[in-house]
Subunit: 127 residues, 2 copies
Amino acid sequence: MNISDAAKKSELPVKTIRYYADIGLVKETGRTANGYRTYDETAVKRLIFVRRSREFGFSISQTEELLALYSDEKRSSAEVKAIAQKRLLEIETKQKELEILRKELSNLVQSCHGDDRPNCPIMDYLG
Amino acid sequence: MNISDAAKKSELPVKTIRYYADIGLVKETGRTANGYRTYDETAVKRLIFVRRSREFGFSISQTEELLALYSDEKRSSAEVKAIAQKRLLEIETKQKELEILRKELSNLVQSCHGDDRPNCPIMDYLG
DNA sequence: TATAAAGCTTCTAGTAACTGGAGGGTCAAT
DNA sequence: ATTGACCCTCCAGTTACTAGAAGCTTTATA
């Protein structure tokens, strides 16, 4: 199938699929005589895998590792788990950061009158 | 004072201060005869303001707006509050996204044995 | 006074992961 | 024959810096 069919099946933009081919993440299966990329079902599966991995926020580099394990029959689930745990930690770290910010900003927003006068605790805090 | 003194006082890297000058966010107060940037206390205050704003995750563009209001005596606190509320919403939206991801990934990680065998629910989910 | 270290300048390029657009070839249908 | 929908490559832009090169000036030391 050509790239737009692969795009439909994988639910990825054509541009993104070309980009993944460029960086070597998921290469096209082949090319037609006129230079059009072709993809088979296996390649589409890899594209779907990449989309899901990216949706979880795994970086391209992490996705590359996962993809390698995906097609490695001799993989250990421990390797997969380690990568996932790393990502989980990233998420939790980010959540903590955001929660600190949210609390502080929420307090400031609540204490700001939000009227026509210039006086404002948000500005006091920043300045 | 020169740029490295401004950097110390504002707790920003020299490179970042130059960058802010380049994009017109916080311009240097002047230049010495040999072309060195100079900063006065007012400029340093603006740099500190920018640092705090960025620490809250306000974008450069939002920071620009806040900075304009900072030196606007006729500002209304409503304008400031609106920008802060927008940022607060961004934070909350991100938090919700992360929480969904965290739950899902956490479940997968917990259900993965993490041993020498290849079988792995994380891979099952992605593939 | 010579010199070396530190500090300043500008300019370019790289980071992450795409996305948009230009310019141009190809293919299917009317 | 032509229109519209594909496909291709290459370049630039996005965010907010950061690193490094090449080359001044200033300051401190021997």
